[in-house]
Amino acid sequence: MRAKVETVGEPAVASGTGTQKGSAWSGFLRRTWPLHVMLLPAVLLQLVFGYLPLGGLVIAFQDFKPYQGIFHSPWVGWAHFRFMFEYPDSKQVIFNTVIIAGLKIVSNIVVPFTFALLLNEVRKQLFKRTVQTLVYLPFFISWVFLGGILNDVLASDGIVNNLLVSWFHIEPILFLGDGNWFRFTVIVSDIWQQFGFGTIVYLAALAGVNPALYEAAEVDGASRWKQTLHVTIPSLAPIVIVVGTLALGNILNAGFDQIFNLYNALVYDKGDIIDTFVYRTGILNGQFSFGTAVGVFKSFVGFALIVLSYRIAYKLADYKIF
């Protein structure tokens, strides 16, 4: 979003200076210096808090001891990275992360997309707005609270299990105590929390579709269904690609807040993800260097995937995000 604003701003400035020749640069500066000054704090902020701390990443290659600091801790090369891949649980943890994050990414595109299409067909504005707001609400509740609520609701004697037991006469399901059910619970609860936000994005995109297209389709005798198929969906394709591309960078982020507040030792084999694993080793055991090494690894994979999907999006959909 931020990138968009900046690209909008630049051409406006450039067109103002385009007519000047010769001392174009100084003229440009004279006219636009207040803008640059206004930009300065943001740039500095970004430098100080965004880029300067990147230097701290060197501790991934050190045996970092807080009392020795960055400058005096001994260097250990790739030892932490080697340790990460030799760690017996690493494969399992990375696999869990990719599976959970992958399913989340897919479902967080499909569900809000479908929901936005359906909601868009609703004629009553009041109903539409109310639903839109209601589904958006969970997005603002933190996982600390949601975790507590889910732990209660999904307990073996909680509401959900009471209903299931009385309707289907089955044994209570351990939603959070059984590996396979745990993944299911994590993904469904994540969709429930997130899809309101996605819906709003798609609804906004829908509002931007040129009405002339629908009118033309109607003149050609297209039904509502055909209009959706041939006008709405193609118009939304770019935004789906943008959302999907940006989400792909998060393939190694399966949602620390959520998993941390829901998981327990029973579901380690199916639910333990990179971030919770790093929390236990890095923070609880004070292995800061190791934690940083995993973070660096994650960032590189995420970066590579974003670049890759950007290229693909450009090739296939002819769409430029940046």
Partner: protein, 588 residues
């Protein structure tokens, strides 16, 4: 134009200045170390001025106080239990004046931080990593990892000789009560920090049962695990709450955070078979072994699994931490819980809110089939540490300070200065009829200048030793005296009799009656090298296997595989390191 240029210049300069301070503030890559850098050089300068040494022992101490006041520098995290009068701060309050006037010690704070979200710990760690000069003393209460960092920084002195020479008798007796007191801070048999003492036996476990259920179903006090199983069976199947629904469970347990926790505990089941999990137990031959892989644990797991199958413990136990586990008891669902003597204060108040007719009573921890009993013994009556800078001019000053509070505050006699509290108008006041009040809300005139009347301002918390001083044996001794029907005489005894519930006092008697069942964690040292690398792996292995066995998701024989795996994944190495440490430090 000139005007505009000037204003531009001004803007730029301001921005530059802002950016410069921002940059210098985070040049260590960690950010926000501002304020941590005021060096204690000035402090030591003033301290050296006190070398008058007319009489006494050459430190300027005349027996009562430092004749020429000395300065003691420190740092402080202000906890949420700190309340101040209007106009007072940690740097300037009734306590700092008192200490100046009576002990000749001026306490100077190099920095002060509000201790939320571990801010104090974080700032200490930052101070270490940025290589700042350390203050004369640091009092630290918190995780062992930070304590070890402080010790290993090499900035602090060995305190053994200091303690022998300057510590008062009360302090020395308190430390001697538990032979393990020094263990966590020993480095090559050298004592690296002074313990801040707390009341002993406060962390020991008892079995709490719903006495109204016991009476209703006509059940006898449990002596063994088998007795307890009979009781839990009755709690589950005989509808103790009388609502004609099978909605009760035997015991509230929560093992999300492990199998050796401070409330809703499970570890005593393991103790009934001979060894507590997740700690280092001493074997017959004097070597230490980890209780998690002890064969006894397998039997305990089999027992727990049968309890789970029979519904004695909740299907959600693996999802509950200590507090969530206890909620099963306090909402009237579970009939038993294992926890500490003070549970009547919290959280059992909730039980009485939810089930007004509920009654609870403490029982001894039951024994296993071979008559073994074991429960965790908690910390050895220490709740913090004081580190003394090796460059400190008056390293003995903190001991004088602590001694004073041991002699005068910890157990004041009737008629002494601290009989009612620290200072009149602060934490106590006298009504016209002579009775003592501690209610600032009801008597605003007697407690002037309060900023927040919902809390009593207790200056004793401003001390360098957190609560002035606590004599470890005092709490238990007083409780026993009260349990045996003694009349409270000293101010401390009267106060204890006033605030402690009868169930609490009885529970403390049980704790002391069965203090032989205490199984302490023999390893109290810093994490060994292999621990740092493998602890997470091993803990996960143990917790996952335990949980799955109890839930029937794995076979009981999985335990043996887990043990073999544990040993070859670093467990054997850690066992060796732990025993090396034990030989080097504990046996002396």
């Amino acid at each position: 134009m000139g005007n505009r240029k000037k204003s531009l210049l001004l803007t730029l300069t301001t921005l530059l200045a802002v950016s410069l301070t921002a940059c210098s503030g985070s040049n260590s890559g960690n950010g926000g170390k501002d304020g941590a850098s005021s060096p204690s050089a000035t402090a030591s300068a003033t301290a050296s001025a006190s070398k008058s040494e007319e009489k006494g022992d050459g430190t300027g101490w005349d027996g009562q106080k430092y004749a020429t006041p000395i300065t003691l520098t420190t740092v402080k995290g202000i906890g949420t239990n700190y309340f101040f009068k209007t106009g007072e701060t940690i740097e300037n309050n009734v306590m700092t004046k008192f200490v100046h006037d009576n002990l000749g010690i001026d306490v100077k704070y190099n920095w002060v931080v509000t201790d939320t979200n571990d801010a104090y710990k974080t700032k200490l760690r930052l101070m270490l990593s940025s290589g700042d000069k350390m203050p004369d003393i640091i009092s630290f209460r918190g995780d062992t990892e930070t304590l070890n960092m402080l010790i290993d920084s090499g900035q602090f002195m060995e305190v053994g000789d200091l303690f022998d020479k300057y510590a008062g008798d009360t302090y020395k007796q308190g430390v001697a009560l538990n032979p393990d007191t020094w263990l966590p801070v020993l480095r090559n048999s050298k004592k690296m920090a002074l313990p801040i003492l707390d009341y002993a036996y406060n962390d020991d476990m008892v079995l709490w049962l719903r006495q109204d259920w016991m009476d209703k179903l006509g059940l006898q006090a449990p002596k063994t695990l088998a007795d307890l199983e009979t009781i839990m069976d009755a709690f589950v199947n005989k509808d103790p709450d009388g609502n004609n629904k099978k909605d009760t469970i035997g015991m509230a347990m929560g093992f999300k955070n492990g199998f050796n926790v401070w409330m809703s505990d499970v570890s005593w089941v393991f103790g009934a078979y001979g060894g507590l999990p997740n700690q280092w137990n001493s074997g017959a031959d004097g070597t230490l072994s980890n209780g998690s892989v002890d064969p006894a644990a397998k039997q305990a797991l089999a027992t727990l699994k049968s309890w789970m199958d029979k519904g004695y413990i909740s299907k959600d136990s693996a999802l509950k931490d200590e507090v969530a586990g206890a909620e099963m008891f306090t909402k009237g669902q579970a009939g038993a819980i294992v926890g500490r003597n003070w549970l009547p204060d919290w959280p059992f108040g909730d039980l009485l809110n939810n089930v007004p007719t509920a009654k609870y009573k403490a029982y001894p921890i039951p024994s296993g089939p071979d008559g073994k009993i074991g429960a965790p013994s908690g910390n050895p009556s220490v709740n913090g540490w004081i580190l003394v800078n090796k460059d400190s001019k008056n390293p003995e000053a903190i001991l004088r300070y602590y001694n004073y509070f041991f002699e005068n505050w910890a157990n004041p006699q009737p008629g002494s200065a601290f009989e009612n509290g620290f200072a009149e108008g602060y934490d106590w006041a006298k009504l016209p009829d002579g009775t003592i009040t501690k209610d600032p809300q009801k008597y605003p005139d007697l407690f002037p200048n309060y900023a927040d009347r919902t809390h009593l301002v207790e200056p004793i918390y401003y001390t360098l030793t957190f609560e002035g001083a606590r004599i470890p044996a005092l709490y238990a001794d007083t409780m026993i005296k009260l349990a045996n029907g003694g009349t409270p005489e000293t101010p401390y005894e009267k106060q204890t009799a006033g605030v402690r519930k009868k169930e609490n006092i009885d529970a403390m008697k049980i704790v002391l009656d069965q203090k032989d069942i205490r199984m302490k964690n023999y390893f109290q040292g810093p994490l060994t090298d292999t621990m740092k690398q493998k602890n997470e792996l091993l803990n996960k292995l143990v917790n996952e296997t335990y949980n799955k066995i109890i839930y029937g998701q794995s076979n009981l024989d999985e335990f043996d595989k887990m043990v073999a795996n544990w040993k070859k994944s670093g467990g054997d190495q850690i066992t060796k390191e732990v025993n090396d440490w034990y030989k080097a430090n504990a046996s002396k």
